[in-house]
Structure formats: structure tokens, C-alpha cells
Amino acid sequence: MKKLILFTALSSMFFVSCDKDVATTEEALQDANLLAKKSNSVVLANHSITPNFLKLKPGFKNLDVYTLLSSEDVLEQSPNFVYGSMADGAGLIKNENGTFTLINNIEADYSIARITLDNTFKPVHGEYILNAEATASTAQCSGSLNTPEIHGFGPLYFSGGEWGGASKGVFAVDPFKDASMASSATMLTSMGQWSTENAVTMHKNAFPGQTVVLIGDDTSDNAIPSGQLAMYVGTQGDLWNGDLYGLKVTSAGINYEVDMTEGQTYDVQFVEYEERTLDELEAESRAKGIMGFSRVEDIDWRKGSADNNREFFFAVTGRKRNALLGKGTFYGRIYHVVLDENNPTSGTITCVLDGDKLDGKAKEFHSPDNVVVTENYVYIQEDPNGYPDTPEKNHYAQLYEYNINSKNLKTVLECDQDMAASLGYGPTNNAWEITGMIDISDELAIDRTFLLITQNHGWIPNDGSSFTDPTANPSPDSNEGSMMYVVKGLKR
């Protein structure tokens, strides 16, 4: 209904602007948003008892930042729920009754939480729908939500099983599963075994009739970059019987990722894999010349037209070892892949941001990790790996805005760990991670609204116990807290 109102409002604005020939599209959008806001029950507000630890950078002081939930909060309908350790990937669903369901990976508790928010977008209930038993204590890193409207199947939440318990692959979870079944999990073996950071399904309009899933392999290797960018292709909605491919750069002279220079475009083919198991996929990748990156992290595709939907960006976080010099990135890179219109296994790749260029536009990069891509921007989230070798890289985790059209890069905000430490929220010598950012503008019917998470490394309860919910993991391996924010005002 709200979408209908918004559409009607937009249409009205369009006609008004044609008649009067004065209002720009942007003004019409703003007016439509105002109209939608009047009928929107969502009220963005601070809901956490934890202070805001995000410091806005010049040029972004107009952003509104709201604290939504932290590990020390108590939710009114589930007082025993603990928002656990190292929250990560997330997906948001607007329910028919006006409430919201947030699925959120809790990485270091090896689990997935379901948080219910009321129709004002206030968190009121939390529970775990996948626990450490179900994941065999495998960390659930980034995640992505599939819906029939966008992906052609679902709702189904994908989660990357990466480290810890050795069940390395793509987990698939019904977002509405009964919490009493939290001990049971399903893995999509057809998508192969990887140190999986994330699995992201492209828009159903990108390749009609096909389901194309991109998988990031976060494998760390001290001698040869060994993280692949894999692709699963099946008929639409078929997650079991499709084929598996790996990205190979076919342009001459490109053997390692750092052979690609920032701003240059190269040809790629996705080469089919025969294997599905961890070591054999790595061996097959090397035998077939499939590119090994220094830890592929998050992936997201460009919103908007079908042409846009065939483009995706991914982050390579980097690894610093002498043996990797000249092979893999140290400080991290962002790649842009454009797939051919009729063939998902062919396209081009461009390194658009190279953190190893110490005088380049990404000179501040210190381990980019997660990405969220809108129609015109890429938002890049950092997880510093601990080697701030230049003054520009010597900072806490930052969020960057990359303009796809102008190719400009700006720093949006930084974790304010100095302030946090002064208030007793962890030390300053253990950098936090910014992660889990998703665009929630459509679900909330409020433009330019994003959800963002921080992993507050080193912040533990004052009594020395753990920010881990026993129903997620009765034997915590990590005690640190997490925090979730809403950031309003970032361009899309």
C-alpha cells in the first residue's frame, strides 16, 4: 500500500513538474518521500543504551546516525537475548503487519540471529535460528537475503561459513524457521567448499531464467594468493544442480592480481570447475589459471537497470607477507566486474581502487572488507589487518564512499575508539571492524537509509563475562560485543 502511495505521489510529482517545468526529479523524489513519510510509522531514533562511536568526516557532517542495538541492550520481549560477538552479514524483511525481521550473522558465536523490530523500527525481540551446534562451530561471516521479487526465489538467507569449525561453504537458512530448530542446518554443496565470506545472488533481471550466485573465497595463504571468486549458475531457483565456475583473467600477461593496474580493464572468463571439495578446488584453480586473490571478501552487484545488475564489485582485503610481494595486494583492493549481456561467464574486470598505490586515491585503505553497492555508489567498510605502514593508513576502521560514475573516493566516517576507550568500551590497540552494511531505504520507505554494524573488538562486559548468548553458543570462544546503527543521508 505504501509503495502504491509512493508511486502515486511520484506520478503526481512528475505531472506537476511537466506542467510547471520547474521541479527537478530530485525535488519530486524528496516531495514523494515527504508524503510517504507522513504515512510511514517508522521513526528513526536511538534505541541503544550504548553511545554512538561513529565519527563523521568533513563533507558528511549532515548524516544522521542512530544507535539501534548493542550487546549490552535488553530487548523488552526477549530479555535474555544477547546480541552476540562479532555481528556481521545481515538481511532485512518488511513483514505484512508492518514489523520488520532482521536476519544477522553473529560470526564469532558461529550462529545466526533473528531480530524483530516493531513498526517504528525499534528492536523488540531477538532469538537464534542457527546455533553453534548447527554450524559445527563454523563462523558465519557475511550474508545475503534472497527474495522472490529480486532474486526469483526465497525468501532464503545465504551465509558464508568461513573459519573455525571447518564446515566451509554456503549455508542456506529459511529466515522464518522455527527457533526450536536452531540446531539444524543446510549447506549448498553444489556451490563448493571455500573459506566462504559470502554468497550473493545476482538480480533475476541480470540473466533471465538463470540463478547466478557469486561466492567469495577468503582463503589466507602466505605464499600464493589463493582466494577465488567463484560463480554458481543454475536455472532460476535451482540451487542444487547448476554448474560452478571460477574467475580467470584471460588478458595476456596477467598471472597474479597485482599484475592488474588500477583503472585498466582486462578480459575475464569464468572457467568451469569439475571439483567441489576445498583442496581440490584450489588445485584445480591453479591448474586452470583461475585467479587467486589475497582473500576475497564481500561482493555486491549494482542496482538499477538490467545492465547495471550485470555489474558487481568485490573487495580483496589483502595480506602482507614477503612471499606475497608482486603477487597479492597488501592493503586491499576493490574490483569492478562487468558481465556480458547474454553470458554470465564472460566479461571484464577493473581494479578501481588499489590500496597499495601509496600516493593513489585509495592510499588510506587498510584492509577493505565489506561492500554495499547502490545504483551510483559503493560503500566500502574496513577491517584493519594491523599494519598501518603510512600516516594515511594509521586510523581506526573507516567507511568510504566510491562514486561509480565520477570514480571519486571519499571517507565517510571512522570508528571513534578514543572516545569509546575513555568511556570504558574496549581498548584503543585492537581496531574494530565496520561490517554488515545494507541499504534499507526500500524496506523503511525512507530514502538514503542504511544499516551498519561494528565489531567492537576488545569490548567485553564490565564483569569480565561474555557477550555471547548461551542459546547461540554455550561455550563462547569470543566475549566481545557488537553494535548496530542506522545511518541516514548517504547517497544511493
Binding site: 551446534e133 548447527a134 566451509k168 584492509s367
Partner: protein, 193 residues
């Protein structure tokens, strides 16, 4: 020759037979070609679930004598599944059969993880301690059981080709020869062979 050795010999013969059936059926129908693989998957899952059953029995037992018996049965079932498990899910196999020492994973300078060991070797050592801690034994058995259940639920062997089966047989022969002789993965009972 112990019962264990006979069983491992049967695994070898069984897998080899499956391989021969697979190789000999090249000219037969597609359905016939599918059969050995289905059998392999079915047998594999039967052994996994057998292990789960005995591990769950440990969890409900308060008698250390019974716990010892259930552990042996669970480990036997695990060993029957070993040739396939160690290939199709090598990381989980290594976890389930890891030695009783701390595991350290270094992702980067700011991310070093220290993991407590668990699995069949840890279970065996804890069961045969002078004063066994039943609580700890049950916790470990439950962890192993849930891990094997996840593996069983996530098994799909339709990508397996003839050469994969040859690799499984090769690796299992080597495994029996090496860990069997040394008692490597049975630290107290030395019941590897």
C-alpha cells in the same frame, strides 16, 4: 589379524568393487551408471548416522563402562565412513580426528584464534582418564554428533567421478598403513589397527 583390520580390508574391497562396477558399466544405461554412486552415498550416510546414534548414547549414559562401549562403536562407524569423509569433507574429517592439542589459526596480526581441540581422539583420552569427567565427555560427544549430523545432511556426491573413488582408495590404503601401524589416531587404546 584383528577385527578392525578385517573391517578395514572390507572397506577396501567394498570400495574397489564399487569402482569396478562403475568402470564396467560404461556401456549400460544412465540409470545403471548412477547406481554405484547412489550406493556409495547411501552406505556413507548409514555409517555417519550409526556414529551419531552411538555418540548420542554416550550423552544419555551415566555409566563409564557403557560410555567406553558406545565410544568404540561410534568410532568404528566413523572409521567405516572415513574413506569417503576424508575426501569429500577433508576439513571436517581433520577436525573430527584431530589430536588433543590446541589449534591456532592466524588470519592476520589482529586476528589470531586459539581453538580448543575436540573429536574422537579427545573423547578417547577423556574417557580413559583415571577420574573421567562425564560432563566433559558428554559435551564432547554431543559436539562430535552434531558435527557428523551436519555432514550427513550436507552430503551430495553426484559430482564424484571414477578417479575420485580411486583417490579415496589410494588415500585409505596409505592411511591404514601409516596411522594403523603407529596407532596414531587412537592415543590411549592404540586401536588404529
Amino acid at each position: 589379524m584383528s577385527i578392525k583390520t578385517i573391517k578395514e580390508a572390507y572397506i577396501f574391497i567394498g570400495l574397489f568393487s564399487l569402482l569396478l562396477i562403475g568402470c564396467n558399466s560404461k556401456d549400460t544405461s544412465y540409470a545403471a551408471l548412477e547406481l554405484p554412486l547412489n550406493q556409495l552415498e547411501e552406505n556413507y550416510k548409514i555409517h555417519l548416522l550409526e556414529a551419531v546414534k552411538w555418540l548420542d548414547s554416550i550423552e544419555t549414559s551415566d555409566n563409564i563402562k557403557d560410555v567406553k562401549a558406545y565410544n568404540m562403536k561410534a568410532r568404528d562407524a566413523f572409521k567405516w565412513a572415513e574413506p569417503v569423509l576424508s575426501y569429500v569433507d577433508s576439513e571436517n574429517y581433520k577436525s573430527l580426528n584431530q589430536p588433543n592439542i590446541l589449534k591456532i589459526e592466524e588470519e592476520d596480526l589482529t586476528d589470531i584464534k586459539i581453538k580448543e581441540p575436540y573429536g574422537f581422539q579427545v573423547l578417547e583420552e577423556s574417557i580413559y582418564e583415571e577420574v573421567p569427567n562425564l560432563e566433559s565427555i558428554k559435551k564432547n560427544a554431543r559436539l562430535i554428533s552434531k558435527r557428523i549430523l551436519l555432514i550427513s545432511n550436507s552430503t551430495q556426491l553426484d559430482y564424484i567421478k571414477d578417479y575420485h573413488v580411486i583417490w579415496m582408495i589410494r588415500d585409505q590404503v596409505v592411511r591404514i598403513a601409516l596411522t594403523g601401524i603407529t596407532g596414531f589416531d587412537s592415543p590411549v587404546l592404540e586401536r588404529s589397527l
